[in-house]
Subunit: 209 residues, 4 copies
């Protein structure tokens, strides 16, 4: 049973990640009632924040999918708290198209609305980061889930890195009130960092056992 | 053939659950035409019922997925009535984003519209609960589907618990007309209960056979 | 390679069916700007054609998925025409939420618009039926796809039944211009018939080989 | 680990392709407020560019899925750059419903807006073509990803064909400014060509190894 359960957990999670990432396009709407000769202008000047937000959220959700994969891969046994903590992570991930759309709508005005929009974005990503911490905490609480725990210092280091991640996302949230555009780019940079930083998750060398 | 059929039944059902849960976010729309400095106010005061409804429906659909998994896992043979009863369950599940959106729109007014909105929500969840009962009834009608039935008293107890579930969801529906908010929270509590109550479904210990 | 290709063909097709069936809910929108005490009225009198169309299209797409499964199950070798004919079938299936929405919008007026709406619905279902015929024709053209063909009289009978199906869906289309509601119910009846009529597709007894 | 990773990479990519192709229908909206007897007219004259754009984008995304499958099938080892290059390809694919909707909205006016709309469409498809080139370049950079590279002349030929593809899509983009309708049909022709032209991707004969 556990292997099947893990397969369906992965299939369900993959589905949610894939849908959330693809729904980002829904916020890109064809301009209507455009006077002749104005479409190029409208497509660029009205929508560039949408393109930027689309690309960065695509990267953010894609890298979340990647790290979810890395974290779930060594799981040997699926229990109910694990399923609920996984659902909690998916809740924040599936929510991301909403702040993406808020940012795309308000980034250009540059004023306080842009700051609030970007803070909402940062808050949702921070929620996902905290959900990753909770999930990792449960996986490494004892040996039931992973079969055998990685060495203690390694687990401690991984938890410290996760704690650091939460701190850095909090900084990104605070940065929203200074420069929304910079905060958005910081999210892109963080996603790229987490794509390559394999040590941040409990990757287990070797086969699946 | 049955094993493949079950795999595709699970894949299709997982897909519907994953899409229904992710479509919940579509109802969260970025506020437009917001005066400078008002976005924080609008994001919170206009949308808090949406956040609450999103989180609770996410939990409800997630736990339905979990219990669907538990119920289908021991299936050995898939026939047409099983496929149609499964489709019937998916019909109610995939519908849930609609009452979620009605509740989010009308919860705040507190009057009779909020009560009707919440009753609609309760009705759709009740529909899903009845669909679970029908599906379970078919699975345990004789030995064809599960290979071997659990002991009779166990099946009887499971059916009683399901009947109780339908009763409790009917109470939640009735509660909508007293306090919509309380009824909504009752749905969250029920979902958490069903996440942990593994005895409510025909879980079979051991491997898949 | 063929087995993997078939797996991904099934996974991709399952995905499209699951998404098309779940997108049906998008057409159900929460009534807005409802005067106090009017929500129950609006939810029922404005939306009953939507509920009916939702339930029937859910059944129609669900049974299409089921028959797609039955038809693809015995496939041993996937070639490019098969992939394109499968894509052609998915094109009509994924389109169904559109005529569903047109029918829901215009069914109640009962006049010529209701007839045209229902005829559009019938046309799209007919398109899917023709796509099934083309796909089945390719599968049974020679032995390359299925490994070994069923006996010739059986293939001939199956093709006759498919031809009959196209005829009956044409009658349903014509019926739209007499009684749209009856035509819609006829689609539900046909879907139920095809759910149980396993001989309509090239089901192969025994294991997968 | 690599096999599992590849499975989830395929599952996630299949999901994104399936959702993007099914979301195309969202742009087809039921005409509202139609005077009696006008629905047939409105369904045809207002929406034929939508039907054309739907069918061609369905074909384009479907063939992208097919070639993605062919390209990923021989992969033996998944690393982070591969995952990011795959994400980059999905970013352009998942975006396609947007230019499809812009083309559907503006194709009929025939003037400069139609040209700009079609150029946007060509630009997004070109982006996907370049993403395929990058992905193929990484797969064939050395032997790590595919286990063993195809013979050098074969890789060189494949890269030349890919370069040619980028050139032809650039021509399609330029053609948008001469005849938008012709450019759209050229995309359909290209998709059909790539569906049958198996040599354009690193197909490996034999089993999966």
């Amino acid at each position: 049973m556990p292997a099947v359960t893990k397969n369906r957990l992965e299939a369900f999670s993959d589905g949610v990640f894939a849908i959330a990432i693809t729904l980002l396009v829904i916020d890109l709407r064809a301009p209507a009632h455009v006077p002749p000769g104005r479409l190029a202008h409208d497509l660029w000047w009205n929508l560039w924040p949408n393109y930027l937000a689309y690309a960065i959220s695509f990267l953010v959700i894609g890298v979340m999918w990647l790290n979810h994969h890395r974290m779930i891969d060594p799981v040997q046994w699926v229990d109910t708290p694990l399923l609920l903590l996984n659902l909690h992570l998916l809740l924040w991930t599936a929510l991301l198209p909403f702040p993406t759309s808020v940012v795309a709508e308000h980034l250009r005005d540059g004023g306080s609305n842009a700051k609030v929009a970007m803070a909402l974005y940062g808050f949702v990503v921070l929620g996902a980061a905290v959900a990753f911490v909770c999930l990792f905490g449960w996986l490494t609480r004892d040996e039931r889930i992973l079969g055998s725990l990685p060495p203690k210092p390694e687990v401690r280091r991984a938890r410290q890195r996760f704690g650091l991640g939460v701190l850095v996302y909090s900084v990104a949230l605070a940065l929203s009130f200074v420069s929304p555009l910079l905060a958005l780019l910081m999210h892109a940079a963080m996603a790229l960092y987490y794509a390559f930083d394999q040590s941040a998750v409990a990757a287990r060398p070797g086969d699946e056992g």
